[in-house]
Amino acid sequence: MERLSYTLNAAAPAKGSRRQAITGVVASGNLEVLAERVLPPDTCTVDIATAAHGFAAVWQAVFSDFAARHQAGGLRLSINDGGARPDTVALRLAQVVRLIEEPEA
């Protein structure tokens, strides 16, 4: 298991007021993302636990784009990765940011 952490400059604070949101599943080729609104609004952190070693550069590229293209300020993101492809990671991140905008169910 490899553990990676990133601190990102967030382009804008996350919308909505929900405290947390979770999406995805821990399964082969998939991942689970937990978002918690606990950080200053210009910061976003990501902690990853992954079974796939040696992809730090790809993760970094996915997160840089994510922070630039989405409003993720204030979020601490925790990822349980089951060896997901980068496109699945990017989709889950986009989804969790959308989900935390939604009113509590």
Binding site: V58, P86, D87, T88, A90, L91, A94, R98
Partner: protein, 548 residues
Amino acid sequence: MARWCTQNEALAERLAAGRTHASGKLVALDRLPTLLEAVLRPGDRVCLEGDNQKQADALARALTQVDAGRVHDLHMVQSGVVLPEHLDVFEKGIARRLDYAYSGPQAARIARMLFGGQIELGAIHTYLELFARYFIDLTPQVALIAAVSADKDGNLYTGPNTEDTPTVVEATSYKNGVVIAQVAEIVDKVPRVDIPGDLVHFVVETKKPFYVEPLFTRDPAAITETQILTAMLAIKGIYAPYGVRRLNHGIGFSTAAIELILPTFGEKLGLRGKVCSHFALNPHPTLIPAIEAGWVEQIHCFGSEVGMEDYAAARSDIFFTGPDGSLRSNRAFSQTAGLYACDMFIGSTLQIDLQGHSSTVTTDRIAGFGGAPNMGSDARGRRHASEPWLKAGAEADPDAPPALRRGRKLVVQIGETFGEGAAPLFVEHLDALELAKTLDLELAPVMIYGDDVSHIVTEEGVANLLLCRDLSEREQAIRGVAGYTEVGRGRDAKMVERLRERGVIRRPEDLGIDPLDADRSLLAARSIKDLMLASGGLYRPPSRFRNW
């Protein structure tokens, strides 16, 4: 003084030799190899019918059983190299030269045999191109074809999977060639005459149907959320703005996803009646929900699809059907329709390079072309206008005087940035180039040339190549939707951002696509069983797709 009618005389000799093994036109199955030895001559051009779907399998088997001392050096001119027997005839020395179009399941073996020099390759064609050559310089002396049933006069019923047969028979029989047909049964009267009996010389009853591959069946259960996201991008970013009503969908899960979200996502956008009303397309099971929801007006088919026979017959308002009620397909006509009468082709591929050239060839697999390059190319001979065609033409050449400006076909490549086995869709150099070098081919086998491609769609967005004004813009537009492949990570971020501002690249957020919609609940059918239910039980999935 030239001697004339030599071909007629040769035909008469072949037929006389064949008739000693037949009763009228009818030949017993166990006499088939003997019949073939009687009518075939060394060096003959032979069309052994088979494409990506139907196969003259009994005739293929019989051809492997002839004495290579008598029948050798045949020049095979056929759509598909699909059955093991199609290559066995080369191993046995019965055939030597090959001109073909498609080799899906034999892609690895044909590559090995080409490398090993066991096959002398003429060319790899598109279907329409090979059909065209049947009438110019690759006319078969003997055609071995497949039908459903025949009467004793040789009238053939080819049924829903008519496909290549009329074209092959036309080229062979009207140019003094011999036509031998395999049929499942001999009947008193065929349900409809697809091939007139006077063009058919011998018929063998096999007691079982010719083989058909369910190539166009995609199980909705295997569609990924990334494919759903990409499908939304294609519909909202291309289908809607161009108003694409006449089109062809390639094979694959990306286009299956589009078909399955028309009744949900497409309906929400109010696109019914405005897009996807006329198709050149096989009867894709994944199109059933859209047909049932009233999206589609008309479909002309290259072939049929296993299990779709009753559905197509019951939907004769949509499909072309014969007086017997069943589907009539015709590959040559449908390919022509795809080339000239469709405004868009959208399909998947295995590799796309920085110029937008695409290929399904990898270093150890030569899958051939099939029909995609016919559909996926701008028809330079097209002269009728339509809204999508004119709009695409204007985007490509905004300064030309409108009345003298050619329109453009929308040729769209769609796919996930990482394909099967995490292989990147985008590459610096196509494997096809390596292959061309190894085999000393004059042309690399390129499926769709970059200058024909109008758009590339991935989960990262839509790249509109028509709006690119030079090669470096084009390269960055491609890199800009290449995601986290090496090609994608090598993009010039500033230039990609400028292209995005100009609408050359449109990302999901630019198109107002909610990532939460990229969910399997958006699919109008989520399993093969759902498709069967949507058809009211008319679709009968082949057993390998039934898991209930």
